[in-house]
Amino acid sequence: MFGFATLVAATCVVEGMLRIGILNRYIVPLPSEVMLSFPRIVIEEKILERFLTTFMECLYAMLLVSVIGILTGILLYRFTALRAATETWVAAAASAPIVLAYPLFLVVFGRSMTTIVMIGFIAGLPPVILKTLEGLAGTRRVLVDVGRSLKLGSWQMFAKILLPAALPTVFVGLRLGLIFCLINIVGVEFLINYGGLGQVINDRAERYDLAGTYAAIGFVILTSVLFFVVTERIERWLRPQT
């Protein structure tokens, strides 16, 4: 409730500043206009369909990111030579603006959902790999010693101690990966004018419909919130102690 009240208060402050003229209405629309444009956007832009398109692109990308990212993190933990050879490059990739390579993806995959999903996947991968590696490597020594004292085999040690101990950090990686993924997916949709909410933002911006543009951004935020809620639910199911 407090968070919602804060959001409402901030919105009122922005509305006031725009009406007085402190902020420029040609850059930032009135929040009240944005609210009023929501029904229009929903009907005109078939927003539910667009929302589902972006949502599904993000879902496919995150499934790939989760499986390949976690497996790669495990491999880098298991093989120290591989880790030494690649960890720096993975960390560098995390800060690289992958979205700017969209022309290359267009050439390879065409102007399609595949291009969007692949860019989201590549962008979301590094944080998941790095955090999985960090989680496994950061398992408290004493927990490993408990396993050793009970003569656990490699697989038992991994499944019963290392992976559960690493889960909190893995989920941090998944949340970071989700952020990177969604930003890049919406960005590419905007750039290539294809797909879901990113294309709506592009359309509205080109028509100088500022209120509609911000309303579409509001739906992007909604997509993000939904994914975070789902991720949190999954984490609570896997880690009931939280």
């Binding site: 004493v142 010693d145 004292s149 656990l152 101690i161 889960l167 102690q241």
Partner: protein, 286 residues
């Protein structure tokens, strides 16, 4: 076997069987460090009888934890020999159960699931391991907390869970490395009572590594006093205090005499350790 028993001031024949279940013979361990080879322990020999409570006490840096790790099979490269019931130790051994100084409960498992852990590894059926685990949970006085997670428990309670988990594997020897080091004095004394009660009930052979003299005298049948690095056996003291014991024993005259006697041995070693640390710090070797 180079054992240095001395006559105590309160001689009383031991009631324990003479046959040793753990024999440590000429144990030595050297580590390679940036400053050169470091001998942690040298020529350590002792035996632990079945059902006995033996404490190993010494100043910081005397190699007590090294001895713990070697006996527990976590440090496989060493000189000398360690045998359990005649079988040489070359790695972790099913006869040895370890309780660590650091908190070692699995935060993602409930109390019941933590204690079930060794039984799960042993392949016991779920119903049987739950029954067995509940027995050991009751033994450490945590009935009613089976479905709680470690984060919901105090430090002392978490350590009791770790002890119950180790006991659940029914080890021949219970090896504990300063299990109460992070607890306050009152909790430590009360947990010591609990450990004594369990040890006496199960006739559990126990080897305790500690730097706390009060704890060692309260719990032990014998105390092995170590020198400063390289750790060697300075003296083995027989503790002839009545059993069963409780924490009330700490207020007895005999208890005080034992503490003073052991402090007399330890003071010299602790002073040597402190002077050496200061010299290292001054020379910049840290």
């Amino acid at each position: 076997m180079a054992q240095q028993d001395t006559a105590t001031r309160l001689p009383r024949p031991s009631m324990l069987p003479a046959e040793p279940v753990l024999v440590v013979d000429n144990l030595a361990k050297q580590f390679d460090t940036p400053d050169g080879p470091l001998k942690a322990v040298d020529d350590v020999s002792f035996a632990v009888r079945r059902g006995e409570f033996l404490s190993v006490i010494g100043p910081s840096g005397c190699g007590k934890s090294t001895v713990f790790s070697i006996i527990g099979g976590l440090l496989p490269e060493f000189q000398g020999s360690v045998t359990v019931q005649g079988e040489p130790i070359q790695g972790p051994h099913k006869s040895i159960g370890m309780v660590f100084q650091e908190e070692s409960t699995f935060p993602w498992r409930t109390v019941l699931d933590n204690v079930c852990f060794p039984l799960e590894i042993a392949g016991l059926a779920k119903a049987k391991r739950h029954t067995k685990a509940r027995h050991f949970i009751a033994l450490v006085g945590l009935t009613g907390f089976e479905n709680r997670y470690p984060a919901e428990l105090s430090g002392g309670m978490r350590q009791r869970v770790a002890i119950a988990r180790t006991l659940a594997s029914e080890p021949t020897i219970l090896l504990m490395d300063e299990p109460f080091a992070s607890l306050d004095e009152q909790t430590r004394l009360l947990l010591g009572d609990k450990v004594l009660q369990i040890q006496q009930e199960l006739s559990q052979t126990t080897l305790l590594i500690t730097h706390n003299i009060t704890e060692a005298v309260q719990l032990s049948d014998r105390i092995l006093v170590m020198t400063f690095r390289p750790g060697r056996v300075k003296r083995i003291v027989e503790i002839d205090l009545p059993r069963p014991r409780t924490s009330e024993i700490v207020s007895s005259t005999a208890f005080g005499r034992y503490v003073a006697e052991i402090w007399g041995d330890l003071r010299e070693e602790a002073t040597r350790g402190m002077l050496e640390s200061e010299a290292s710090a001054r020379s910049g070797r840290g």
